[in-house]
């Protein structure tokens, strides 16, 4: 997993609430047996007319050259629906390291963190401020300080993250490394409970 410290970048806004995992990556793209290559199908059905890559929908932000960057900004309740980690892989593979929303579905949040994608939960008001910026505005996400800043206006907000997950992300460790390191405790637990 790649570590995250500070991300300073422009952002891609998808101003829709309740974006479910079927929209992030439709089920028909879940047939791969590796984690790579999902990025080109991110938001597939919102991105193209009739599933045709030669016909991008002009009004969808990912298709607009004005928008770019490592930060995806989306409406409230992002990532609801299925447990498919492919949603997090698609976001990472499309070049995003941070997703900003005012609410995240549980499983998505875990999946993102497990893949080095940082979910930043902000207030509704702050989210609206970001959506109101023009496409050149950069955001700064400082994981160490747990702070997101709209560079143009210097408005800031603090965000929460579990301290264990924060350490993992800052250092690029994952949960499996940790769990494998306590295998003896797990074996002891098993003998005690059976």
């Amino acid at each position: 997993m790649k570590a995250i410290t500070t991300i300073n970048s422009r952002f891609v806004p998808v101003n829709v609430e309740n974006i479910d995992t079927d929209q992030i990556i439709p089920a028909r793209f879940l047939k791969a047996t590796t984690k790579e290559g999902f990025g080109k199908n991110l938001f597939r059905d919102w991105r193209y007319e009739n599933d045709d890559e030669t016909k991008p929908k002009k009004d969808f932000p990912l298709n607009q050259p004005a928008y770019s960057g490592e930060i995806l900004v989306a409406g409230k309740n992002f990532g609801c629906g299925s447990s498919r980690e492919h949603a997090a892989w698609a976001i990472l593979d499309a070049g995003f390291r941070v997703v900003v929303s005012s609410f995240f579905a549980d499983i998505f949040k875990n999946n993102a963190l497990n893949n080095g994608v940082l979910p930043v939960q902000v207030s509704d008001a702050f989210l609206h401020k970001i959506f109101a910026q023009d496409s050149n505005t950069e955001l700064t996400v400082d994981l160490e300080k747990q702070r997101i800043t709209i560079n143009a206006t210097n408005e800031q907000e603090h965000f929460d993250i579990n301290s264990y997950k924060k350490t993992c992300l800052l250092n690029g460790y994952d949960d499996i490394d940790f769990l494998l390191s306590i295998k003896e405790d797990i074996q002891k637990f098993e003998t005690l409970t059976t």
Binding site: T33, C80, S83, L179
Partner: protein, 466 residues
């Protein structure tokens, strides 16, 4: 100190707690399927480690499998590759696989309970959000992502923070024509599709207690649609009677020992929940969804909401949803023309669901221009339906009984609803494109779906019951 059902199970499974962080939770049972496991096995192989407790892992192929001619090789190449990868990974790691052709094969959340693998007081996970289904037995059961599948394969543990606790009480007696699917769609319409995010949800109350195990599973199945981490119902005689005698149920002395534990699994009288709701069974009528998340449901006699009448949560999405669905604000849902009927999925594909539909359609015929698919949840459900002659009833009604799998619930195999067509479905998700690109899904109970199959339009099933 008084404890909730959730607390009792949770505490029993904590290996250790990290300061300022999550807990290490021991997992009793791990179900895997072909879609969310390949990358986890690749991860294990990269680390050069084996599955830690293969005997606690159970595999099946369900998401991708065809529902016709299952004896033939899978035509679609990528689906076939995933199913083959599962076979290879299970063989390499010593995991039991109930794959295609096995008499136990079926949708992962249908087979666990019917085989007696799912038991009260357990921690159960699967790389699938509807793992919440197993909570109907009084277990902590939740969906996980593929990295977490890898963690459980590697260590039989997960890192988890304890969720907040919610209790939803439904008391009273259900009206005629109203079944458990209607209860859960009703709750969803009240608390919305994100109403339980961050919570473990216990369902309680006399209406819940009166339900069979299969009906309880339908409710817990959809707790994820409220955003809940898991849903659970305290085990009781109904639960114990259901488990007894099943293939992997404890036997003899082990049964008595299990029962002693199971009987301790309930929320103490004065246990405190972070949030609590109360609903009356009498207020619930047959439900149907009109929108593109499962919280967008109404009683069958109600009108589709308008921007003025809808709850705050769905306001901004209403017109987008209705455009996708081709429906009008403020109009009746009853009478809406239907093209497809899908009776299946881990929500409603068990033998009771098929029996309910069969007893309703017996002697009736489907409407001419409607296609009706009934997809049993497992090989065992299919065999039972045939043994009871349910297949004949369906045949006479013009319903097509297919072979077990997830099928049109998510359209990963060839069972897709064409763009623009209306499908009344007993599954759990009406998201845009869920049943096929452009497909329009109306979620309902098996009874309401069967009524629409007969009339060809959205129908109040109560008008057809005598």
């Amino acid at each position: 100190m008084s404890k909730t059902l959730f607390d009792k199970i949770w505490e029993k499974h904590i290996v250790k707690t990290i300061d300022g962080g999550p807990s290490v939770l021991y997992i009793d049972r791990h179900f895997i399927h072909e879609v969310t496991s390949p990358q986890a096995f690749t991860g294990l192989n990269k680390r050069g480690i084996k599955v830690f407790r293969p005997a606690q892992t159970i595999a099946t192929a369900d998401h991708n499998v065809p529902t016709l001619n299952q004896h033939l090789p899978i035509k679609e190449e990528l689906s076939r590759l995933q199913v083959e990868a599962l076979k290879k990974n299970c063989a390499q790691h010593g995991v039991e696989l109930y794959g295609l052709g096995h008499p136990f094969q079926g949708i992962v959340h249908v087979i666990g309970p019917e085989l007696g693998i799912t038991q009260p007081g357990m921690t159960i996970v699967c790389g699938d959000s509807h793992t919440s289904t197993h909570g109907a037995f009084g277990s902590i059961a939740f969906g996980i992502g593929t990295s977490e599948v890898e963690m459980v394969l590697a260590t039989q543990c997960l890192l988890q923070s304890k969720p907040k606790l919610m209790r939803i009480n439904v008391d009273g007696v259900l009206n005629k024509g109203v079944v458990s699917k209607d209860i859960v769609l009703y709750i969803l319409s009240k608390i919305t599709a994100s109403g339980a995010t961050g919570y473990a949800v216990e369902f309680a109350g006399s209406a819940i207690r009166s339900l069979s195990m299969e009906a309880r599973m339908t409710i817990c199945n959809m707790s994820i649609e409220m955003g809940g981490r898991c849903g659970l119902i305290a085990p009781d005689e109904t639960t114990f009677n259901y488990i007894k005698g099943r293939a992997f149920a404890p036997k003899d002395a082990a049964w008595d020992e299990s029962m002693a534990y199971w009987k301790s699994l309930y929320s103490d009288n004065d246990a405190v929940f972070d949030k609590e709701y109360h609903f009356k069974a009498e207020d619930i009528e047959p439900m149907i969804t009109y929108g593109t998340n499962p919280g967008m449901g109404i009683g069958i006699s109600e009108k589709i909401p308008t921007t003025e009448t809808i709850n705050e949560n769905d306001k901004s999405g209403l017109s987008k949803s209705l455009t996708y669905m081709g429906l009008q604000q403020g109009s009746n849902i009853k009478g809406q023309k239907i093209d497809y009927v899908f009776i299946g999925s881990c929500t409603n594909s068990r033998i009771e669901d098929l029996r309910m539909v069969a007893s309703f359609v017996k002697g009736k015929k489907k409407a001419n221009d409607v296609e009706v698919w009934v997809v049993p949840g497992s090989k065992q459900v299919e065999a039972q339906a045939i043994a009871e002659g349910i297949d004949k009833i369906f045949e006479e009604a013009g319903f097509m009984l297919r072979q077990p799998g997830c099928s049109a619930c998510l359209g990963m195999n060839e069972d897709k609803i064409p763009a623009g067509k209306y499908c009344i479905s007993t599954s759990n998700r009406n998201f845009e494109g869920r049943q096929g690109a452009g497909a329009r899904t109306l979620l309902a109970s098996p009874l309401t779906a069967a009524a629409a199959a007969i009339t060809g339009v959205v129908t109040d099933v109560r008008e057809l019951l005598n």
